[in-house]
């Protein structure tokens, strides 16, 4: 048996805070224990619990790829007590990290296939991990398409690397916002509609989508229209979590614990689970 304390966070230091949007910030953190940092290993899609000591913990995906290990990156959208508190932290501040937790994207199974990323808002965070990972292992994958949408350009995270993605020859990047905005040169329209316009081929493809529930719902419908089968679709789920290790009991959908067995699910797996999202 493993005698590691499941609940004891590793102390870490915030190296950098990036203000992404008015309500999203990104932390780049390193574990204080250098040995632990050096040995830290994870898979794209794994999540971690960040501690605001005195307030509580909250779950975020590690959105830097395992291929880049100078720091671990987490993006935090302000919504509740914990995230509001995390938003007050600055570079140099201490933070608790419990990671990696959960499952990961089945990137091995995706080798040799065309990849379609569809991300909405903060849902871009998990996709970023896998995208960067695939770009770092570019030859393993076929054509890669990215569709990233947000309410407005002001709500678009990872602004600083979007141009690089747009410029790359080995990546087809599409950006979209919900409504016209002065100076916006990319698509305007809801993600599912833009997706149908781009119409990526389902042939030998995998679609990975993440975003707010309503976007997911319509994106799945759009993907279906484009001929994607359930097993060709991958998404991530969100639930209220506490322990992060499948014990505390709240994040289950039937017998699957999103914190431990998820957060990554294929469309086919989702169909197997009871309907309780």
């Amino acid at each position: 048996m493993n005698n590691k304390n499941l609940y004891l966070p590793e102390m870490a230091t915030i190296q950098e805070v990036i203000e992404e949007t008015h309500n999203i910030i990104t932390f780049r953190v390193t574990l204080n224990n250098q040995e632990a940092m050096k040995n830290f290993s994870f898979q794209p899609g794994n999540v971690g619990q960040l501690s605001a000591f005195g307030i509580g913990e909250s779950t975020f995906v590690i959105n830097s790829p395992p291929s880049r290990m100078e720091y671990l990156q987490f993006s935090v959208m302000r919504s509740g007590e914990v995230t509001s508190n995390l938003h007050t932290l600055k570079a140099g501040d201490q933070i608790g990290v419990r990671a990696p937790l959960g499952n990961h994207f089945p990137y091995e199974d995706m080798k040799g296939k065309d990849i379609v990323f569809v991300g909405g808002g903060i849902g871009m965070a998990p996709l970023r991990t896998l995208l960067l990972f695939m770009l770092d292992n570019r030859s393993d994958y076929g054509k890669i398409t990215l569709l990233y949408g947000a309410r407005s350009p002001l709500d678009m995270a990872f602004n600083y690397e979007l141009q690089d993605w747009l410029d790359r020859d080995d990546l087809d990047t599409y950006l979209t916002i919900d409504a016209e905005f002065e100076g916006w040169k990319h698509n305007v329209g809801l993600i599912p509609n833009v997706l149908l316009d781009i119409a990526p081929s389902a042939e030998n493809s995998v679609a990975i989508t993440c975003g707010p529930p309503i976007m997911i719902k319509f994106t799945l419908q759009a993907l279906e229209k484009l001929g994607f089968k359930d097993e060709q679709i991958v998404t991530t789920l969100e639930k209220r979590m506490k322990c992060g290790v499948g014990i505390c009991g709240r994040c289950n959908i039937g017998s699957s614990y999103v914190c431990k067995d998820g957060p990554v699910y294929t469309g086919a797996q989702l169909k197997e689970l009871p309907n309780e999202l």
Binding site: M1, L6, Y7, L8, P213, G249, R250, I253, S255
Partner: protein, 353 residues
């Protein structure tokens, strides 16, 4: 054959006092009109006439416990540089629990599969579980709410226990059921018990026989999933539920918890406390979205977890020990047996044409 001893009723307190020299000893006590487990106190009567109102769950899984203490300290050179130390608070010492019933103690085995899983072990739970011995009292009578025999157990089931105490004439027949149990039975107060084994077996059999025929619940995992989307079914069975936490907190197998932080000045603690899947807050997300917004959804999860999801993950073992506390203590008289049977019996109405 395992070690068997006899204890006179009149020596019970003395024996527990002996055990209390090395261990924290818990025994049932009568308070208000309730029977609860409390630290053994020779001044207080040990109440074993019937099963305790609250099971001894808290002896291994306390109502709340500090998981991590954290302390802030400032760098005197630069007060904005704050060091945070997080320190685990592991339970210490050994304990003996006397007077739990077979259902109560078997409940811990439901915890064990989750808390002491190979890939992730809860060391807080494990520390207590490994250091707590159970001298379990076999039942010599049953109540209307008892249904341990529905869930593959019996009034004298020793699963999870270290010693099984069977009430016999003038005292108890003590049967060691684990190695640890044997070490508990070394007191001079105990006499040989072999000559009473037969009497003990008779007591157990009589009680077992007094129970009515148990229904077959093998189908429950499948049937509960079948009614998952039938919201009317769940609204119907949950109508009288008040969404309180009595059933979960009194349940020997309910193991869900919450984690909250409390601070005062420069220090604080991360606390684990019992949580309750019947509460709306249990699954309420920061955004306000709640995947289980009504008591129908929540009761569905509670019943589903015990009779479907858990068995699905753990070789068909139902995560219910049949103690009946959730029925007996429910302020609205919700009866989980009724719900499970109803689900098993449920046949979707075929719409003709």
């Amino acid at each position: 054959m395992a070690l068997v001893k006899y204890l006179k009723s009149t020596d019970l307190k003395s024996w527990l006092a002996e055990l209390a020299q090395e261990n924290r000893v818990f025994a049932p006590r009568y308070e208000g009109e309730a029977v609860i487990f409390a630290p053994f106190d020779p001044e207080q009567e040990i109440f074993i006439k019937y099963a305790a109102t609250a099971p001894p769950k808290k002896t291994v899984f306390p109502q709340s416990e500090r998981l991590v203490d954290f302390m802030y300290s400032k760098d005197p050179e630069d007060l904005s540089r704050i060091k945070i130390e997080a320190q685990e608070v592991l339970p210490q010492g050994t304990a003996v629990v006397f007077g739990g019933r077979p259902c109560d103690v078997r409940g811990f085995t439901m915890f064990d599969r989750v808390y002491m899983a190979e890939e992730a072990t809860d060391i807080y739970y494990k520390a207590r579980r490994d250091n707590t011995s159970f001298i379990t009292l076999a039942c010599d009578a049953t109540e209307n709410t008892c249904f341990c025999h529905w869930v593959n157990s019996s009034p004298s089931d020793p699963t999870g226990s270290d010693v099984l105490a069977i009430p016999v004439e003038g005292g108890f027949l003590l049967k060691a059921v684990s190695d640890r149990g044997e070490t508990l039975l070394t007191s001079q107060l105990l006499s040989a018990g072999e000559n009473r084994v037969e009497e003990g077996e008779r007591v157990c059999k009589e009680v077992a026989d007094s129970l009515s025929q148990a229904p077959d619940l093998a189908n429950s995992p499948k049937k509960l999933l079948e009614v998952f989307d039938n919201i009317e079914f769940w609204q119907d069975v949950s109508a009288k539920c008040l969404s309180c936490g009595t059933c979960t907190y009194l349940c020997p197998t309910c193991y869900c918890f919450n984690i909250t932080d409390e601070t005062q000045g420069m220090k604080g603690s991360r606390i684990r406390s019992w949580d309750n899947c019947m509460s709306a807050l249990f699954t309420m997300e920061a955004s306000g979205h709640n995947p289980r917004p009504t008591k129908a959804h929540r009761l569905k999860n509670r019943v589903g977890h015990k009779f479907s999801y858990y068995p699905d993950l753990h070789d068909g073992v139902i995560s219910c020990c049949g103690c009946g506390r959730c029925i007996k203590s429910c302020p609205a008289g919700v009866d989980i047996r009724e719900i499970v049977l109803k689900a098993i019996a449920f046949e979707p109405t075929v719409v003709e044409g």
